[in-house]
């Protein structure tokens, strides 16, 4: 039925590329490194598409419901009958969808990097890291066991760390990769504890078993998990919240988002792959994977997901309006879009009754948005990469008027901007519509936040677009000899642009829904008027402000100076973190701990040492080297012993 080998090869091929290039990339594969990696990944992509086709159209469906299939499972560490850490493959609509997304974007990035990273000294190492990342991400989405997922989760974190710190001689990149690693690691601690809590109560680590035991109301596991409580909240909710902290860390949700903008220090294609399209949605994927558990057993946790998502979406959008580094704008926009996906999951509920309704629309909408967002955000980043490649700067003020110099980039970037702004008929429109509809039905407050945020999104994206491609005339200066970038850089842009333009027409609800049954997505023309009009208004504002170089943006910034300044400084979240770590943790906890360590712990060791030393200094005269003296000691000792034994 399912061809296990072909599925297993999808993650294993990038791993093979990693091993091959990691071992030999610096010696005799130096020239061919990029092509080898592209070839491996191309094969994996083809296999992924084949698997998706097979799953969705051939064997995935049984009685009109998409099944959760486990074609391969190997018990790796067995604790008892139920509790074991397995290495397996889980196929269900979202994992298959993620397979396609990850391999496709990764392939585009691989091809693009052939041009972008040309001439880099550690070219092969770069491709090796990309292979490692792709492997771990694919492993993550295919995991059949929550612990297996955790393993890959950490692997993804490591490869992200390696790639952010790729320019290791740049201090800012080094700081950024450390920050990314520490923040996500901190969040992963929550994830790990969450796993432990969940597995303690459900008695299993396997996704399918866990979902059934913790969602059916009769099961004793669920009862004990709900009744056991801590601080007035049930243990299960705590578990889910902790798991969500892990997801929020990876997905850069407020307030754990601080690493994402800094992560833009990595090479731009890496940002496109990891920090826009794939890794950062791992958190969304995690919540989606455990969605029935969230919705049925821990609705409070789901509420938290919804509000955190909405808050992140709004905050990030406001910050994005003020940033001047184009990659940072994109980073905040990513965070905002992931916020959209999160609250879409949050407002959704899981209707086990199986009415073809819209109650679990949010789930489908979230996954749909994940899919389309991966396409257009990767496109935006790659386009930004092309611009940076051309201008040699990340700052918006160094750009402007590039539309004549880079026609292909211009068109594709425009398509991506239209898609993210939610202008019909581009991809973002459909997915965003569904999210808004789900929010409208689920939670009115979040709906209005979302509406406002999507208008902001349109504004800042077109601010970016106009600033890069219109605004002032571009002065051709410095040693700017090379053109827009070769075939290898333009091809991914064009392909992704086609995806961003057309992906919206995929009847996504038919394939991916919370319970596996096809979901008819409703489409209300009247409903979509408001978001589209707001989006267009955002675009129009941006057009007025940034089409031509003028004074208006500065004036507005000045009139809103307080808000502008705090948004420009990212609402001082970084400063708060610095304050907490430096002032509170270092000073209040670190200093006394250091004092205790130095004075008390070390002191005890030193006293022991000095006592021993003094005593041995005193008695070392006994060791005279004179044999006969030893003999005397021996004799005296023997006599004393004899006396003791005889008389006592």
């Amino acid at each position: 039925m399912q061809n296990v080998l072909s599925i297993a090869l999808i993650p294993l091929l990038p791993l093979a590329a990693f091993v091959l290039l990691g071992l030999f990339g610096k010696s005799f594969l130096k020239k061919a490194a990029g092509y080898i990696a592209v070839l491996f990944l191309l094969t994996a992509t083809v296999l992924a598409f084949y698997t998706a086709y097979e799953y969705f159209f051939v064997y995935g469906k049984a009685d009109g419901v998409y099944q959760k299939l486990v074609p391969f499972k190997y018990a790796w560490l067995v604790f008892n009958d139920k509790l074991s850490i397995d290495i397996g493959i889980l196929l269900d609509p979202i994992s298959v969808m993620m397979l396609v997304v990850v391999t496709l974007v990764s392939l585009m990035v691989h091809i693009y990097s052939l041009g972008y990273m040309k001439g880099e000294e550690r070219f092969a190492t770069y491709y090796a890291y990309l292979g490692l990342f792709t492997f771990s991400m694919l492993g993550l989405v295919l995991s059949s066991n929550i612990f297996q997922m955790y393993i890959f989760w950490e692997l993804v974190g490591v490869s992200s760390f390696l790639l952010i710190g790729y320019y290791y001689n740049k201090p800012s990149a080094v700081a950024a990769c450390k920050k990314a690693f520490i923040v996500t690691r901190f969040a992963d601690l929550g994830f790990l504890i969450g796993i432990l809590v969940l597995s303690y109560y459900s008695g299993t680590l396997d996704f399918n078993t866990m979902l059934t035991t913790l969602t059916s109301p009769e099961s004793s596991e669920l009862k004990s998990a709900v009744s056991g409580s801590f601080l007035g909240v049930s243990a299960l909710t705590w578990g889910m919240l902790l798991v969500f902290i892990g997801g929020a860390g990876k997905s850069a949700m407020f307030p754990l988002h601080i690493w994402l903008p800094d992560a833009m220090e990595g090479p731009t294609p890496v940002s496109a792959l990891i920090h826009a399209a794939t890794m950062v949605v791992a958190g969304v994927f995690l919540v989606a994977r455990l969605f029935p558990e969230f919705a049925l057993s821990a609705p409070e946790a789901l509420q938290v997901v919804a509000y955190i998502g909405a808050a992140s979406a709004l905050i990030a959008a406001v910050i994005a309006c003020t940033q001047t580094d184009i990659k940072r704008v994109l980073a905040y926009s990513t965070m905002s879009q992931i916020g959209f996906m999160m609250f879409a999951l949050g407002v959704s509920d899981f209707d086990n009754g199986g009415v073809l309704g819209t109650s679990n629309l949010g789930y489908t909408a979230s996954m749909f948005h994940l899919f389309t967002h991966a396409l257009f955000k990767a496109l935006l980043f790659l386009g930004a990469g092309a611009v940076i490649h051309y201008v040699h700067s990340n700052e918006m003020k160094d750009m402007g008027g590039l539309r004549k110099h880079m026609p292909i980039t211009h068109i594709t970037f425009l398509i991506a901007c239209l898609a993210i702004a939610g202008v019909p008929p581009f991809a973002g429109f459909f997915s965003k519509e569904e999210i808004l509809l789900a929010a409208y039905k689920g939670n009115k407050l979040i709906y209005y936040i979302a509406l406002f945020t999507s208008a902001l999104t349109a504004f800042y994206m077109f601010r970016l677009y106009f600033s890069i491609f219109w605004n002032k005339e571009y002065q051709k200066h410095r040693n700017n000899q090379h053109g827009e970038g070769g075939m290898v850089m333009m091809l991914p842009l064009v392909l992704l642009a086609a995806g961003a333009a057309l992906a919206g027409f995929i009847p996504f609800g038919h394939f991916v829904s919370a319970d596996g049954k096809p979901l008819e997505s409703e489409f209300h023309l009247a409903f979509s008027i408001a978001p589209v009009v707001l989006g267009l208004a955002g675009i129009l504002t941006a057009w007025m402000l940034y089409k031509k170089q003028n004074e208006r943006p500065d004036k507005i910034a000045a009139s809103l100076s307080g808000l502008y300044k705090s948004a420009y400084n990212k609402f001082y979240v970084d400063e708060v973190y610095t304050f907490i770590t430096k002032k509170i943790i270092f000073k209040l906890i670190g200093r006394p701990a250091a004092w205790f360590d130095k004075k008390i712990v070390d002191g005890m060791i030193n006293v022991t040492g000095s006592i021993t030393q003094t005593i041995s200094e005193k008695i070392k005269g006994l060791q005279s080297g004179k044999v006969q003296q030893y003999a005397v000691y021996f004799l005296v000792g023997g006599l004393i012993l004899a006396v003791v034994i005889m008389y006592l």
Binding site: G625, K626, V627, A631, V632, L635
Partner: protein, 86 residues
Amino acid sequence: MGVYGFFTRRNLITMLMSIELMLNSVNLNFIGFNKYVWPNKMDGLFFTIFIIAIAAAEAAVAIAIIINLYRSRQSVDVENAEEMKY
């Protein structure tokens, strides 16, 4: 006699001889006590034979050490061999 010789002589050969003296006196003691205290048992005899064997081996090792010492410092005086101290 043996103990006295061991403590007073500075010549290693003489000291070795003193040790042999001690061992042999112990042997005599063993045989004597065995004969008069437990005449039916043979333990003392066995011990004596055992000690003779050990003494032979020990003498061989000791003489080898002494020869090496002599080669390295042209003397067999214990006072000259005291590097093995603190």
